[in-house]
Every structure is written in structure tokens, then in C-alpha cells.
Subunit: 254 residues, 2 copies
Amino acid sequence: MAYEQGSLQIFGVGGLPEIQPGTDLAAAILHAATDAGRPLADGDVVVVTSKFVSKAEGRNVELADIQPSPFALQWAQQWGKDPAVVEIVLRESKRVVRQIGPILITETHHGFVCANSGVDQSSSGAHGRAVLLPIDSDASARRIRAGLVAGGVDAAVIISDTFGRAWREGQTDIAIGIAGMQPILSYIGAVDPHGHEFQVQALCTADELTGAAELVKGNLSRVPVAVVRGYGWQPDETATIAPVLRDQSRDLFR
Amino acid sequence: MAYEQGSLQIFGVGGLPEIQPGTDLAAAILHAATDAGRPLADGDVVVVTSKFVSKAEGRNVELADIQPSPFALQWAQQWGKDPAVVEIVLRESKRVVRQIGPILITETHHGFVCANSGVDQSSSGAHGRAVLLPIDSDASARRIRAGLVAGGVDAAVIISDTFGRAWREGQTDIAIGIAGMQPILSYIGAVDPHGHEFQVQALCTADELTGAAELVKGNLSRVPVAVVRGYGWQPDETATIAPVLRDQSRDLFR
């Protein structure tokens, strides 16, 4: 696909099959992109919605199989929630960050601070089920990247989810797993055109790439994968999302 | 410029002149884009860095002209900061949200929660000066949009700045002013492909567009303006950034 130098192109990969546990996501993405006339290319950043990954990894839970704890049960009853879902949210967390009224903000086992541990009911494919975040979203990204490379395309991979933020209304898509490129681009020590040294600036380009991908994925359509083309990332096989997770000791808002 | 249906293209507008107080930004952007062979087009989203706007609006302050308060003076001395800069940060805020060690997180008069009220020294063009955020960043966006429309291009305008976040390392570019389109796209009440109704999802697409633009602007280069082409926004002349500013009564982290 043609694009001009110094510009990014972002497009969704539609026409993907319904995902089953064990589906080879990299192969499915490569095939769908080629079938749509937009084959993936070296240097692409492929942003994959976490629910798509979770389904392939069998991270669906049948709510009927869940035995809620007394704590989950009483809070769920107080706020008109499903006790099984509350139980799953608590199991997926290592810590409750805020529990105010019906709102439950947790820190997941990965270290993400988000509503309801990222547990999702709207995309579960059926009532009575919930979809959980991938157990190790960096490993999920690495597996997909390895599959793309094996298929002949050297692309970076980001796993995305839709999270709320402090202070600002509206959610945005952010990165919860990454492979092939570092998530943060640091300018610290670099010098601006006026000779001032940057002292604090480090950009979380992974989150910016992920948000950009959301603009073509949308949330009502079945476009769980988008490609950002033309972004000059530096290959790094050691990359993980860990540098984005602020340590609690440095966090003024947790 | 050619781009494919259903895809976004994002490119920077380089070659802009050095900005002076009173510079007509819309005219400068239209000319620079045309000179670069990529003229703006109806439907574009034009993302303009706040410092670029601030310079045109004369929002530079000479530090030598500032008389620090006793509070600013003692805290600046304790943490090795410039008392004049601390004084400006306090004047630009309506409330200190966190003041821990050398870190000062404030709520600006606009309602943005950020470090140092968005006061910037690195881009001020000379030592001894600071650049403040635009006084009314929605009005700034509306003026630029009006100038673009007068020049024959119906483009939405976003004013951007680089802010930190809670919980996550790395800053991102977010929207601090908007004109022509609403900043939040709500899915509440819509139904997903499986028949579930979205109950809480509303995407802050303005922040996603702004972050996407940062990927081509960079922070060391002189590319203060970027264009997102192909995003299907709904025209709305009443749009402001206000819906993005979470009211303190609803904020669990302020």
C-alpha cells in the first residue's frame, strides 16, 4: 500500500473469523489482511484488541461455575451487581484501589489500575459469560509477533484494552502488552531547538499508537485489529509493558 | 493527497514560521501545508501544539518581572526551584492537587489536572522566560478553525499539550481545546454485535486523535502542527473540551 514519507497510515483489519480457544491469531490476521487487499508489511505496528486475544486463549468464564465469597456476595447485593462477576473481578485483582458506591477500581495481577479488573461482559459472545484479560499480555503479544515473523512479516505487536483515566471523562484505548518495540520513548537528556535540555519528558508512544488504532477499530464493529504503518520503531526483543506500570511507591494517585 | 477508504492518514505540517504575538496561525498553517505539497482539505482534524498557540497569543512571561509570594519562595528554595516559576505555576492554578517533595500537581483555571499548571520553560525560546497555556484553549481552537474555514477549508481543530497521567509512566499528548467536533464519542445505549447494550462506554476520541498526532510531531523537531485525515467527525459548532473535564464530585483521584 502506498503512503507518503513522514506520514502514518492507520487501517483496520476486518473479515477476521470468529475466534475459538486455540485459534492461531497471527495466521488469522495475516490471512485477513491479505484477503482485504492490504497485506501486512515489515515495520507495521499491529494493535490487537485484548478480548480477541482472550477468546483465543480460552479466557472466558461461565458465571454459573463461580462461587462468590461472602464479601463479593454482600457488596454485589448492595449495589445490584452479579455476585459471580464481582467475585471474578476480585480474583483478577491483587488489590482494591477504590471501592466507592457501585464503582470498583482495582489493580490487576499484571499491575494495571482499571475498573473491574478489565473483566468484560459486553463482548463475551453470550449472556452468562465474562471475558478476562489475558493472563500475561506481553507473552500474548510475543506469541502473535512470533507468528507474524514466521509468516514473513517483521511487525511489532501491541495488545489493547479500553480503560478509564483519572481526572478526564471518556475512556481511551491503551497498551496492556507489547512485543518488538519499547513502549516509552525517552527524550531525557536530549536538547530542544533552543538549547534547553529535556529533564522529564518521556512519551508513552505505545499508548498513543493504541489510541490511534482505536479510531479505525471503533467499538461497535467487528474490527479487533488495526495496523499503524509508517511509524519508525526501533526493534527490541526484550520489550515489555513493565516500564509503563508506575511503581506504587512513585504513584501519587493510588 | 490520496488515502484509502476506511483508513486514517496522519502527517506533520513543517516549515512553519517562527511565531510572534499576533501571528495569524490559521493562515500560517494553510500556507505551510500548501507549500509542503499537502494542502489541508475539508474533513481534516488539525492538531496544534499549545505552545505554538501560546506564543501567538503573547503568553510568554519574563521571569524577572515576577514577584514570588513568601509561600512560593520558601518551597522553591527547599526544592531548588526557580521561585518565579513556582509563583507563575501557582497563579495559573485554582488549586494544588498534590505537593509532595519537588512535585507540584495543580488544577489549572481551565480545570486541567497536570504538573506545574502546564507552565513550560523548555520551549520558551530563551532562558529567563516561561510559556503559559492559552487562557481559553477552546477559544484558541475556535479562532484557528474560523481562520481555516475563511481560507476555504472546513477542518476541526484540537489544541494539544503533553501531560502525565496517574498510574502509568510516560506522558501522552492530550486535547486541551477543541472546535468543530465533540471530544467524546458515546456508545451508551448502543448495542454490540452480540446484542449486549453498552452501559458505560464513551471514548475520548479527541485524546486519541491528539496522541496520534504526536507520533508524527515528535518533541525535538519543529513540527507543532499535524493533520489527521480520514476521521469521520460530526460537525458541531457548540463543541468545547468541557465534557472531558471530570467534575471533582465525580473524581475518585483528586
